[in-house]
Structures are given as C-alpha cells and as structure tokens.
Symmetry: C2
Subunit: 250 residues, 2 copies
C-alpha cells in the first residue's frame, strides 16, 4: 500500500496529477484511511503504468479512460488510428518545414521579409501538394508530376538548395545585364547546370518544366524561381542560340 506521495515518488508523476486522475476517475485508490488519505496498491500502480504508456503513445486522457474500460478488441484499432494520426501530423509538419525553409530563403534573397512572397509560399504549401501542382497539369503528365514531387521532397539536400539560392540571388542582382554579355551567359549556364543536376538526366522533364515556367505568368512559380529570373534566362539563351546559328551559317 502506497500513500499518494510514495506513489508519486515511485513513478515520477506529480501528486497533483494523481489527484487529477482520481478526480476524473481514471485511477481511483483502492482504499482510504479513516482520515480520508488515499491508499494505492500494486494493481493501481500497474494501471498507472499502463496509463503512462498510453499517454506516451499520444492518447488523450479521455480516450485512455475508454480504452482501459473496454479492454480486449478495440486496442489494435485504437493504436492503428493513433498511428494514422501521427503520420498525418508528420506530413503537416513536413509541409510546414518546407514553408518555413522557403520563407527563410526568401529573406536571404530579398534581404528582408517580403509579405507578398510569404503569402505566396504559404499558399503554395497550404493546400495539399496535389493542388499545388495542379497549375502545372497543362504542361506535365501525371508521371512527371510525381517525379517532381519526389524530387522536391527527397532529392534536394541542404547544400543543393543553398546552391540554388545563391545562383538565383546572383541572377536577380544582374537582371539588367546585357543578354549578350559574357557575364549573362555565365549566369545562365550556371543555372542550366543546376537544373540539369536537379533533373538528373531526364531532359524531357526539364523541357516540360521549362515550358511551364515560361508560360505561367502569375507571381511566384516555384519560389525562388520567379518570372524575372525565367525571362532573363530565356533572353540569354534565345540570343545565344541565334548567334550560334549565325556562326554556323557563316
């Protein structure tokens, strides 16, 4: 027989918590002294340990109560449900992580918090990823979309992203460069290298993506790849191609 204080010390649960569990009928002491002090036995201790285990699994006290009352068959189901919940929450957090990362990159690129960009980024991730990609469906088929999704989620390391940001930052700072200049060509080629690395060897996908980027007029596309950057690269490459053709002709 333990008093509430002993039980508290044995389990690390505060007295107040045990008090509360008694109050809501989760763990009632199996006896009381004549003076009204609560006395717990080993059965109660076991119950408490089970409650703590269920709490660790993330169940609410309400559910724990229900689970402990009707024993046997619901258990597996409850745990499965909890597992699904945990998975969903993880997905939410991963989205949030991407959002926060995007915002951090935007701060780094712009030098300060740009609210329109923040809103765009949030909008981009807020809806489920499928909807976010829906705007591309004119240019990409389903397989390609899945590839892009996977790429965005797994293939890009911290360092890769950093390189991207640096590259785009550089281009943004030189948007007014003469497209025929060497510097412009270097910038565009650096971008192309990045893109090819990212899309590995899937030239088709890169082409489709590029077409999509060019045609999607509105605001942010894939942050930090905005319209200005896309148009800059486009100008540089068209001009260089024309020059090369002329060279080939002569």
């Amino acid at each position: 027989m333990y008093t509430i204080g002993k039980l508290s010390k044995n389990t690390g649960v505060t007295v107040r918590t045990l008090d509360y569990y008694d109050e809501i009928g989760l763990i009632k002491p199996s006896a009381k002294t004549s003076g009204g002090h609560r006395l717990y036995n080993d059965d109660d201790l076991m119950k408490l340990e089970r409650v703590l285990a269920l709490k660790y699994m993330g169940f609410s006290l309400d559910k724990i109560k229900v689970i402990m009352e009707n024993s046997n068959p619901t258990w597996e189901q409850s745990i499965q449900q909890q597992l699904d919940l945990v998975k969903k929450e993880q997905e939410r957090l991963k989205m949030l992580e991407h959002t926060l990362n995007g915002i951090l990159y935007s701060i780094e690129l712009e030098g300060e918090v740009s609210w329109p960009i923040v809103f765009s980024i949030i909008q981009l991730y807020q809806q489920d990823p499928e909807k976010a990609l829906e705007q591309y469906k004119e240019y990409l088929n389903i397989e390609e979309m899945e590839k892009v999704m996977k790429m965005n989620a797994t293939n890009m390391s911290k360092a890769d992203i950093q390189e991207w940001v640096e590259c785009i930052k550089d281009i943004k700072n030189h948007l007014d460069l003469d497209p025929t200049s060497d510097k412009a060509r270097v910038l565009a080629e650096r971008w192309l290298n990045q893109a090819e690395k990212m899309f590995d060897c899937d030239e088709n996908l890169l082409g489709s993506m590029w077409e999509a980027l060019q045609n999607m007029g509105e605001g942010i596309v894939f942050y930090p790849m905005d319209k200005d950057v896309v148009h800059f690269i486009e100008r540089v490459f068209t001009i260089n191609n024309q020059q090369r053709e002329r060279n080939d002709d002569s």
Copy 2:
C-alpha cells in the same frame, strides 16, 4: 473602413476571434463609432493577414505579438527557431511512429496486448536513438551502428516488416521443434534469407549483429527478435553444421 462583421467575412476569421485579438491587444481597431462599434481599416487588415501567416507558421499568439512589435532583425532568428522546433517535433513523431508500429506487431505476434513488451518497446524508443543503440557498442563499431540506424529508418518497407513478423511468428509457434527436423531447418533458413536480404550483402555486419543478439541476454533485443527465437536459430544451425562436418568426414 470595415465593421468587425465585414472584416470577418473578408478574411474568414470568426468575429469571436477578432474580438479576442482585440482583447489581448494583438489587433486593435483603428477607430470606433460613437456607439462603440469597432472599425478596422486596410492597415488593420494587413496586420491581420500577417498575424494569420505567423499563426500558420506555428507561432503562439504571445510570440506573434512580440514579433509584430519589434519588427526587423529578429524575424529570421524567430523563423529559424520555429523551424528547429518543427524538426524536433518531427523527430519525436517519427520515434512515436516506430513505437506504435512495434506495438502493433507485438499485438499481431502475441495475439493480444502484452504490457511488458509494450513497456520494453517504449523504453527502446523513448530515449534518443543513440542510447538505444549503446547496448550494441560492444559488438558494433560506429559505422556499423549508423548503417543499422539507417536500415531501420528507411530501407524496410511495410511489406518487408510484414514478412519479418510472419517469419518470427512462425518460429515462435514452433520453438519446441526438434532442431534436427526438416521443419526446423526450413524455418531457420527462411530467417537467414530474411536477414541476408535485410543486410543486403554486408556479411560482416550480419555477423556482428548475430553475435550481439546471441550475447545480449536481457529481454527484448530488437523487437520482435527475442531471446527464444535467437536461441532456436542458434541450435538449429549448430546442429546442422555438426552434421555437415560429420558427412564431410565420412
């Protein structure tokens, strides 16, 4: 100028919430009618949208208040902190996911909830993963441990695990089989196949793991690989090896 109702409809935020934000001084209306009705202007609307954005990022209203008051330089830091927090929470949830999965498998194996096993599994994952592996450090070096960690986290698909569980379940149901019998040999070889698939082609790692499994007496090792199973497999293989040697001699 919007009344509280208009602002509510424009933003999708309930009137009560705006009421509350006014109450805690987060967004105060910039004017009031003579009758005391609140009037919000476009500045207030912008503020509200920023608050919503920060809320989406997971900040508490308290922090949002602080952030909105002292503007500029703390932003990046705050967001970085939030990002770190999100990452930590994700790690916690991943651990929890593993725990819940383990418990589900244990239910499948035992046919019911076995509390000692549940406690072991929780203990296994509760502490950070490094500590969980510390018990193996007598038998594995750092590189090997990292490999095991990665394997546990990524390489195993749902189906792989299912196969494992089936295999172990089968063995558990036949622990008292004669180690020289064909059935026993089949079971042990099935286990070996699984193990080789899991460890791919890293025979050394498999050997070290096996040694560790044999020597770690206490309770759960890698659930669902408990002592009984390990000893069964050990018996079968030693006996079969002896027989083969005798055959070679004769």
